[in-house]
């Protein structure tokens, strides 16, 4: 996974609440068996007209938002399915950070696995960023994960702290993993002794008791 230390880029305002994973990437595009190449399907039905031409009214197609790398959106972003194709599509399109008042849980976790920073800010601050990004196409922000601050490029205007999880410890754990581009699987494989001991400690039936009895 590519480390996330600092990302500066154009902010696109997606002023909608409950943006669901079926909008981020519709089901008909989940049939590929690779991890890459999903960017072309991002927000497919919103971004493209029925004939495949760009919909000029959709924010990512408007002048000034061509090279968006930061999305700002309404609450509960990523509602719906567990499809990791959603962050894959965002990443492939060039999005590295999403700012919203809240995220749906599975999507939120999937962001961390793919080097996307899901940034949680209070509604009022999200609104402020949304309005600036709407008023000034090409509006840029820097997301600094080392110091957990969002700043305007000149460090003059907006300069606010952020978290990526309501629980401070989880935030810190995820921040560390993102900064180092660390994959979870390596961390867990290093715990082999504990996993083996746990398996050996369990009784015969399912549940509070044990594994097994599946076959």
């Amino acid at each position: 996974m590519e480390p996330f230390v600092r990302v500066s880029g154009v902010v696109a305002p997606l002023d909608r609440v409950n943006v669901d994973t079926d909008q981020i990437i519709p089901a008909q595009f989940l049939k590929r068996i690779e991890r890459t190449g999903f960017g072309q399907f991002l927000f497919y039905t919103w971004r493209l007209n029925a004939d495949g031409s760009p919909n000029p009214d959709f924010i990512l197609n408007k002048p000034g938002y061509e090279n968006t790398s930061i999305l700002v959106a309404g609450r509960n972003f990523g509602a719906g399915s567990s499809r990791e194709h959603a962050p894959w599509a965002l990443l492939d399109y060039g999005i590295r950070a999403i700012i919203a008042p809240s995220f749906a849980d599975i999507f939120h976790k999937n962001c961390f696995e793919n080097g996307i920073a899901p940034i949680i800010l209070p509604e009022a601050q999200v609104r402020e960023i949304m309005e600036k990004a709407q008023a000034q196409p090409g509006y840029r922000l820097t997301v600094d994960l080392e110091h957990c601050r969002i700043t305007e490029p000149d460090h003059e205007g907006l300069n606010i702290p952020f978290v990526m999880h309501d629980d401070p410890e989880t935030h810190e754990f995820r921040r560390h993993a993102l900064l180092n581009g660390q994959d979870e699987i390596d961390l867990v494989l290093a715990q082999e002794d504990r996993i083996g001991a746990f398996e050996a400690s369990r009784g015969p039936y399912g549940g509070v008791l044990s594994v097994g009895r599946n076959r």
Partner: protein, 466 residues
């Protein structure tokens, strides 16, 4: 010992390791795999030269892409076929048991887990699918995960997860006649909203939940994710054990009784506390119909399409305006006047035998309205066989329904069953997002009985007066 909730018991008993300030390392008892969210995970294993750690705890199912036409007919979509073939190859290579399209017990992953006895109380169950919450109906902690986590579980049989908060959704009172488990959960989502349980594992309690069959409990837990929860569960009781007894893959004979004794220790202890408590009056619930583009946009069948101006929150107002345009509905239209083109009876929410029985009662001796195309997609081959043994297929076919093979089908339109742009569907599935059942399609979520009645009438009707 301090009193614990069901959720706490499940979590604590699966802790492989807990480092201060870090997410928990949880052991997984059952890993369900399907074709859409697994190919990249198997690729990852292959690239790193890793194996599946516990093939005996891993079960794969082909369900999302599979056509629901006759099995003798080929799959016509080459990309879907490639994905299904990839699953077969991966299962073969890694030694994972696969229920493929031709398996006598194939079906939707969340249907066959319980049906084949893999789903059991006290387990931690994961699947690369958000509706994994279904399995919580048995008193299991069942969590939907992404593909990277699928790879992690394949390789290590463990999950890295920060502890959820716990929520009790207590539904007191008795559900009135004609009000189903589907209406119960739609009522809950309507009340708390689609983000209302974010960060939580829900436990459903109260008389209305206790009185539900296992099928009904699965319907309720299934849609926990539509309330934003990571998991939904119901404490196991005699209803649970009666459903399980004698199924394949559950302990048999004395072993079963011993297991039941253990499972009886799972329910929440008196005095244990939840982080959040929600109360619902079950006796006041009605048959519900969604009018918009998320499952929280719901009104009783006797209600009207709301006016966006009635929403206080600007985000909700804007969402309602967009939804009405997409759904092509006018504010204040009585729900019973909304005409439909299609009916879909299926999905992991409502395609179990009890759902089909209830719907068949409604259609028996009647005919599907001329304007409507209606289909039944049983959740599994076993359900299909049972329904055929009971003669339900004949009832549906006589009424003009199409009777299909098992699979996800028009729940998400990855196979050839899709809505055409502009078509309006009464659906027993769980999501009414824009384009969910096909680009431009309009979905109204309802119970099986309500869907069946709408098929006959051509518009929504109050099934309590049927």
């Amino acid at each position: 010992m301090p009193p614990k909730t069901l959720f706490e018991k499940l979590w604590d008993s699966h802790l492989v390791h807990q480092e201060a300030g870090q997410p928990s390392l949880l052991y997984v008892d059952l890993h369900l795999v399907h074709e859409v969210t697994s190919p990249q995970a198997f690729d990852g294993l292959r690239m790193a030269g890793r194996k599946v750690r516990r093939t005996d705890l891993t079960i794969a199912v082909a369900d999302h892409n599979t056509p629901t036409w006759a099995m003798s007919l080929p799959i016509t979509d080459p990309i879907a076929k490639a994905q299904l073939d990839a699953l077969s190859r991966n299962c073969e290579e890694f030694g994972v048991t696969l229920y493929d399209r031709f398996s006598p017990n194939q079906g939707i992953v969340h249907i066959i887990g319980p049906e084949q006895g893999y789903t059991q109380p006290g387990k931690v169950i994961v699947c690369g699918d958000s509706h994994t919450s279904t399995h919580g109906a048995f008193g299991a902690l069942a969590i939907g995960i992404g593909t990277t986590q699928v790879e992690l579980v394949l390789a290590t049989q463990c999950l890295v997860q920060a502890r959820f908060k716990s929520m009790e959704v207590r539904v007191d009172g008795r559900l009135p006649r004609g009000v189903t488990a589907k209406d119960l959960i739609l009522g809950v989502i309507g009340q708390i909203g689609i983000g209302g349980a974010t960060g939580h594992a829900i436990e459903y309690t109260g008389l209305a939940v206790r009185e539900l069959s296992m099928e009904g409990r699965m319907t309720v837990c299934n849609m926990s994710i539509e309330a934003g929860a990571r998991a939904g569960m119901v404490a196991p009781d005699d209803t649970t054990f009666d459903y399980m007894r004698g199924r394949p893959n559950v302990p048999q004979g004395d072993d079963f009784d011993a297991a039941v004794e253990e499972w009886r220790t799972l329910p929440t202890d008196p005095g244990a506390e939840y982080d959040t408590v929600v109360r619902i009056d079950g006796a006041a619930l009605e048959p519900f119909v969604t009018w918009g583009t998320n499952p929280g946009m719901v009104v009783p069948v006797t209600g009207r399409v709301p006016d966006p101006a009635s929403f206080e929150d600007p985000g909700d107002r804007e969402a309602a305006e967009r939804a009405l345009i997409y759904m092509d509905l006018e504010p204040d239209t009585p729900i019973e006047e909304v005409q439909i083109d299609r009916v879909f009876l299926g999905s992991c929410t409502n395609s179990r035998i009890e759902d089909l029985r209830a719907a068949s009662e409604v259609v028996k001796g009647r005919k599907v309205a001329d304007r409507v195309y209606a289909m039944v997609v049983p959740g599994s081959n076993a359900i299909k066989r049972q329904a055929e043994d009971e003669g339900l297929d004949g009832i549906f076919k006589d009424a003009g329904f199409d009777w299909r093979e098992a699979g996800c089908s028009m729940c998400l339109g990855m196979n050839p069953d899709v809505l055409q742009p502009g078509e309006r569907c009464a659906s027993t599935s769980n999501r009414n997002f824009e384009g969910r059942q096909g680009k431009g399609g309009r979905t109204h979520l309802v119970s099986p009985q309500m869907a069946a009645a709408a098929a006959i009438a051509g518009h929504f009707v109050d099934v309590r007066e049927w």
